[in-house]
Symmetry: C2
Subunit: 152 residues, 2 copies
């Protein structure tokens, strides 16, 4: 089974976020190989910064057959639906990468290029918190697929 | 303006969750008075525990004109929609309480009694994380209402 890659921009400043990330990575470890790639924030400001980040994200995503952008405006699903979707992709043995933008989001150009946009919630969350929520949902999905007792 | 009350069941075990809660409480403080009421977990197990918790939650909610249960199956909205809804309730000067269940959820009896059920996401999140996400959304909503630069 290919590892799942999570591509993020920037490093969380809060110790508590890093600690929660570590917590979920540890839970995920026995269930699936997860690789987190941390890109640096884009150069410049505003539009220019977003374009720089989009270019780095595009490069990082290019090797993957399934590229998914996490975006509040994307397709919403419940945890069971996500698990089912993830399971079917894993069964096909496909290389998957998920991307979370910087605190400024993701440039609309890149959003238009990547067909698969998934939403963790209609609500807008801070990108650091999105990291944690995605890891928790990945752990939950893998538990559902493996028949664990975590999801109830 | 009446304070907003958040009623929760149980105390988070993770230091990182407590630290994030403190972080958001500090951000919210200048914007609106928030009171968090922490109920103890219900006695017994399974159904009995949920009924005990439902009874405690019912009591804690009884004094409030607007009672809202946070539940993955509730009404979803985006952050702007939540801010608009919250603003209209605050303008009416209504006493509001939000409730988050225990790690076992909220008994369906109580869910049926409380008409207003709000969802932070269609996805199921751990209740400790719901606490943080709700506080972050409350801060975001108040920033939107006050015209702050947090929400972009």
């Amino acid at each position: 089974m290919y590892p799942i890659r999570l591509i993020v921009v920037g490093r969380p400043k809060q110790e508590s976020i890093l600690s929660l990330e570590k917590h979920y990575k540890k839970l995920i470890k026995p269930l699936i190989r997860l690789e987190i790639l941390e890109l640096t924030e884009g150069k410049g400001q505003g539009e220019r910064q977003l374009l720089d980040e989009a270019s780095n994200l595009r490069n990082a995503l290019s090797a993957y057959k399934w590229k998914v952008i996490l975006d509040a405006g994307g397709r919403t699903t419940d945890s069971e639906g996500f698990a089912k979707w993830l399971g079917s992709r894993l069964d096909l043995g496909e290389h998957m990468a998920f991307a979370i933008g910087s605190s400024n989001g993701i440039h609309s150009i890149l959003k238009a290029e990547i067909k698969e946009r998934m939403s963790l919630s209609q609500m807008t969350f801070p990108h650091d918190l999105c990291r944690i929520i995605f890891l928790e949902q990945l752990y939950r999905a893998m538990s559902i697929l493996r028949g664990g007792s975590y999801h109830k």
